[in-house]
């Protein structure tokens, strides 16, 4: 692995009495695809919100390429090259597919022409170039998810945070989607995927981090992580391994 791209140190977020992310240390290297797994309510989405600047952490530190970016607002993080998608897709419903992607592209350019070019390139990459004039509100979920990725890509990110992009896709949609992400990664974009479709993550990720109740419980190569007892318990219930 090469350069350290993202580092969280002791990052913590509480909501009321619940500690959603609990003093978490995470290191992401350039050009990796890291799978972030964990059962419902483990704190994955909160962690994404912290990294993307949508939420400020209570304590802890966030670095991008060694630079302290703790507490930077979301739009600054995007301009710095950290793009994210939302678990529940949030298309800009009243805009067309192209316009959605152009909003992302405008993070790095003022020129409408450049933005259009970048947006079209990103839409092409995810296979939406036939639908540029379609209103985002009338897309299928599969297409919405692609749009969400394209929009993030159009902002020319260095780090892409994908939040459950594959949930709800049917098997026919799944494999092309994985191919798209591989393609994106080959072009130099580091990716963190939060995913419930574990087999997809196993195919895709070079490294897996498992969190449960806001803490990291396992980390390593996909095969070894998924057979670890802690992970099986976290997913199937505390006494599954015994019964």
């Amino acid at each position: 692995m090469s350069t350290l791209m993202l580092r969280t140190t002791g990052i913590t977020k509480r909501f009321g009495g619940v500690t959603a992310v609990d003093s978490l240390d995470l290191e992401i290297f350039e050009n990796e695809i890291v799978g972030l797994l964990g059962p419902n309510g483990a704190g994955k989405s909160t962690l994404f919100n912290l990294i993307a600047g949508a939420l400020p952490p209570d304590t802890g530190r966030l670095e991008v390429f060694g630079e302290d970016v703790t507490g930077q607002p979301a739009h600054r993080m995007c301009q710095r090259g950290v793009a994210r998608t939302f678990q529940i897709v949030r298309p800009l419903a009243g805009l067309t597919v192209l316009e959605n992607a152009m909003v992302g592209a405008f993070a790095k350019t003022r020129s409408v022409r450049h933005a259009r070019e970048r947006a079209e390139a990103a839409l092409d990459l995810v296979g939406l170039s036939e639908m540029v004039t379609t209103m985002a509100s009338s897309l299928t979920l599969g297409h919405r998810k692609r749009l969400e990725v394209a929009r993030a890509l159009a902002s020319q990110p260095q780090l892409l945070l994908l939040d459950e992009m594959m949930a709800g896709l049917n098997p026919a949609e799944l494999d092309p989607f994985i191919e798209i992400l591989r393609d994106v990664n080959r072009q130099g974009v580091t990716i963190i995927v939060v995913e419930h479709v574990v087999h997809a993550v196993m195919q895709l990720a070079s490294r897996i981090v498992v969190i449960s109740q806001g803490r990291k419980i396992s980390e390593g190569l996909p095969a070894s992580v998924m057979s670890s007892r802690a992970v099986v318990e976290a997913y199937l219930g505390d006494d599954f391994a015994i019964s």
Partner: protein, 345 residues
């Protein structure tokens, strides 16, 4: 690195694929100038009633178009837009009556004043979401109305301000109506041009993103606070400018006539009925509703006062229930549907 994504772009853009062709600004100017000339000609020879109708339609169209920048493009429901309109009207009128400053300079000062007010209000209120922003702007309108009532020495209180009928271009005061058509029409054209330019630039895309989903917009690198402030500043400034023109046309101001809540509501009604967020929506709303209101008022105003506002209210209810995207939105939706059908068959 991610530069490569761009390099995959496949040559020149197919013009058919463009989702939003660049607004033809030059075409807009051309059409606008011809339309204004035509309307000016008509108003110089038509009966007074129709001349008045044309000027009022232009003034309200400009006002609704200015509201559209913050209310439509940015999706922030401002219920106090009369505050800017009235501020502009009072500013230039006071400068003219008390200090002899030409309304043209007054217009510029009004623009600046409205923009400043828009900015100052935006800083605290844009934090408010949903109905709270609407309520705060509503309160702002009422505050300004009462300021005008209270500071009698400056504003004449309830009695208002009468402007001297000294005719001439320098004083922006005319006995005929065609000059007002030119001025108000020109101003409307400027408002439309600015709106068109906003829509076809990054700013417009970012405003639309904020309107659709502020959190998603922020995640896409949009500084939501900044674009909303800029929209509020522009919107407030333009609304104040049209206030000056209105004052010079009517030559008489009272707090209720330019700062009243009814004015704010009328602006919103025009924009929403026509289609808020669309470039020509508010214009369409004004063109449909203002003449209709004036005609009903003339025909039935004596016998049935209130009928014209009743018609307004019923139209608002019907549009909200049946065409929530406004008449312009309904028309473009229908056009798109017909287009698609044609393609399929």
């Amino acid at each position: 690195m991610s530069q490569q994504i761009v390099n995959r772009s496949s040559g020149p853009i197919d013009p058919m694929v463009r989702s939003r062709p660049l607004p033809k600004h030059s075409l807009l100017i051309g059409f606008g100038v011809v339309a204004i000339a035509l309307l000016a000609f008509v108003s110089s020879s038509a009966p007074v009633f129709y001349g008045h109708m044309i000027v009022m339609t232009l003034i309200y169209a400009a006002l609704a178009t200015s509201w559209n920048i913050i209310g439509g493009f940015a999706g922030q429901l401002s219920l106090g837009h009369a505050a800017f309109f009235g501020l502009g009207a009072y500013t230039s009128s006071i400068l003219f009556v008390d200090f002899g400053i030409s309304p043209w300079i007054g217009l510029l000062i009004a623009l600046l004043g409205g923009a400043t007010l828009g900015l100052l209000i935006g800083i605290p209120t844009f934090r408010l979401r949903g109905p709270y922003f609407a309520l705060a702007t509503l309160a702002l309108g009422i505050i300004l109305l009462n300021v005008a009532v209270h500071f009698r020495e400056l504003t004449g209180g309830h009695v208002g301000i009468s402007l001297p009928p000294t005719e001439g271009w320098g004083t922006m005061t005319f006995l005929n109506r065609w000059q007002y058509v030119v001025i108000a029409g020109g101003y409307l054209l400027v408002c439309l041009l600015i709106s068109g330019i906003i829509l076809s630039n990054r700013f417009g895309y970012q405003l639309a993103a904020v309107r659709e989903d502020e959190e998603a917009a922020r995640a896409l690198g949009v500084n939501a606070t900044r674009v909303k402030l800029l929209a509020g500043t522009l919107s407030g400034g333009l609304a104040a400018g049209i206030g000056t023109i209105y004052a010079q046309y009517i030559l008489f101001l009272t707090p209720d006539s330019v700062l009243g809540t009814a004015v704010s509501i009328e602006i919103i009604v025009l924009a929403i009925v026509g289609g808020s967020g669309k470039l020509y929506g508010p214009l369409l709303g004004a063109v449909l509703l203002i003449p209709a209101g004036q005609l009903v008022l003339r025909e039935f105003g004596g016998a049935l006062p209130g009928l014209h506002t009743l018609v307004y209210g019923v139209i608002v209810i019907i549009v909200i229930l049946l065409f929530p995207r406004g008449i312009w939105g309904m028309l473009t939706d229908t056009a798109a549907l017909i287009n698609r059908r044609r393609k399929h068959s």
